[in-house]
Every structure is written in C-alpha cells, then in structure tokens.
Amino acid sequence: MRCEDARAALDTSRYGDTDRAGEPGAKPAVEQARAHVEGCTECEAFAERAAALDRMLALDEPQPPGPGFDTRFFARLEEERQSRKRRGLWRWTWALVPAGVAAAVALVGLPARAPTPTDGAAQGEHAVLAEIPPEDMALVMELELLEDLPVLERLEEVEAFELLETIEAEELEAILGEAE
C-alpha cells in the first residue's frame, strides 16, 4: 500500500464508515493501512499529527447564539407570516383573474403573456413579475386588485362572457377603463 493510500484510508476510517459496513473491502483497506503505518516512520508521524489535529479541532466548542437571538428570529418570522398573508391574497386574486385578463390582454393588443398564477415561493413570483414587459406591467399595476375592487368585479363580468373572442378590443378597453 502506498503512503498516500494508507493516509487516505486512515482519514476515511476516522469518521467510521457505517454506511458501507456491509460491503466487503471497506474494512481490509483500514487494516492494510494500519499495517503499513507500523512499518513506515513517515506515516507513523502522520498518524500522530492526525491525532493532534483531532485534539486541536476539539478546542472549538459549540457556542450558543448571543442574547436576543430568539426575539430577533421570531420577529423576522412574524414579518414573514404577515408578508405571506399579503402574498396569499395576491395569489387568490390572480386565481380569479387569468381567464379575463389573459383574454383582455390579448384582445387589447398586448402580448398575451399575462402572468400565470403561481403557487411557488416569493422568488417564483418575482421571477414571473420580472418577465412581464413594462406595458403589461402597467396593466398589472392597474389591477393591484384589492385596492381596486371595482376592477375585480368588472373582471368577473368579463369572465362571465361566454364568447370573449367576440368582444371588440375597444369594448374591453372601455370596460377596463371604466373602472379606473
């Protein structure tokens, strides 16, 4: 066994190899390494320094977090809960919107890339919002729904139309415009 292989095997055995305990071959490598170390001065020195390294590593004891850690964390968590609540409402409103808005967006001549409702995390929502072109974004902002409930009501009306395609673009603009 080469010195490097013996040292690698010693390091591996140091933290147990329980996951591979059943496999043949795992243990003999360690035994070979031990046999090698007994006959190799340099690897013997390595083994001593490895033991010293373990003693040195043991000097770094776990330290509990400083005072106020829990208070700060639970304040952040509460903030998170509140913002999730807000995002939840936002998602809920989008869930009502797509049929109407997607059609409206298409019909008023904007690219039909209205944001799809996402049940992903905030990041996913940001990604979706980031993709919306500025013109569409203006529409999205207009529809910042809960602050603008009449629009939401109007959208439900739009959804109720069975033949959306038959609505003239001007008519839809008017519907959306009325609510402003």
């Binding site: 040292r7 147990g16 190899d17 010293a52 040195m56 000097l59 776990p62 964390f73």
Partner: protein, 194 residues
Amino acid sequence: MDDPDVALMLAFSKGQEEAFVELYNRHRDRIVSYTRRMLGNQAQAEEAAQDVFLKLYRARETYAPRSRFSTFLYRIATNHCLNLNARVERKLVRPDVEAANRPAPERAAGTRQDAELERKRLRETLNTALASLPERQRAALLLVHYEGMSYREAAGAIEVSESAIKSLIHRARSAMMRELEPELRNDRGVLHAV
C-alpha cells in the same frame, strides 16, 4: 422513516406551527455553530442561521421526506453559506488571520491564565485554518467532524457523491495538517493539557 424530526416537519407542513418551533428549538444551537464555522464570524453566522430557519419555514409547502431531516436542514444551511460566501467573495470576514502567522510561543503554560490564553490562541489559529479551506472541503469536514454525520448524510447535505465526500475530507484534513504543522509538531501533550 424512523426520524422524529421528519414527523415534526410533516406535521408542520400540515399546518402545525408548534412543530416548527420544536424543530427550531432542537436545531438552533447546532445550526448557529455550523454557520459560524462556515462563515467565520459570529454576527454574520447568527443572521445566516436565522435565514436558514426562515427558509425551512418556507419549505413546508414543498417538503417531501426524501432523507433524514438533518440532511435536509444542513443542505439548506450549506447552500445558504456557500451563496453568502460567493456573494462576499474575498471580502469574507476572516477571524484573526495574524494569529496563524504568529509563531507558536515557547511552551511555559505555568499558570491557569497562561493556559487559558494559550487555548484562546490555538482556537484562533484553528479557526483561521478552517477559514482558509476551500468551502466544500470545509463543509464536508464540519459535517462529519462536528455534526457527527455519516458520509452518506454529509453527501446528501452537500449534494455530492459519498466517495467525493471522503475525498473532500481527506483533502481538508491534509490541508489543515499543513496549515497547522507547527502547532501539531510541537504538540507534546500540550493540547491535552490546555
């Protein structure tokens, strides 16, 4: 899976908020220690540990028990630390770097106070050596050495193969031994004594 933490996480994902608090209480100190060793700075580590638990909180909707809970949690923590370090790049706050370059003083730890100072100096030297490791090596070493993970668990946490973990640890230990050579060579039981 016979892992009470997985059961707690599943309960949490079904809406039991107190299960989350229990998980937080169980793992808080260890995660703070882990992020401190990963980042080398206590204040930054505490902030990062909180981020980790917030990410855990957000994970409840998508959680599926595919591994031990600790593997899952440390994967979040490891990724978070790697991202933070990538962001600060070289501006990483390092512990007292000079401590490592200071020559080891002549050993004459006579008084208790001397021993305490020596212990502190060795800890700083150790932390500097840990901070100088490439990150994946550091993460691998910390997970198996301090967190007591098996190779398989650590592999899951860092998202590499088991054989890669063994190699990372061997390289980490070799690098540490080179870095700490003077301390380890002079260790004629002094480390035992302090």
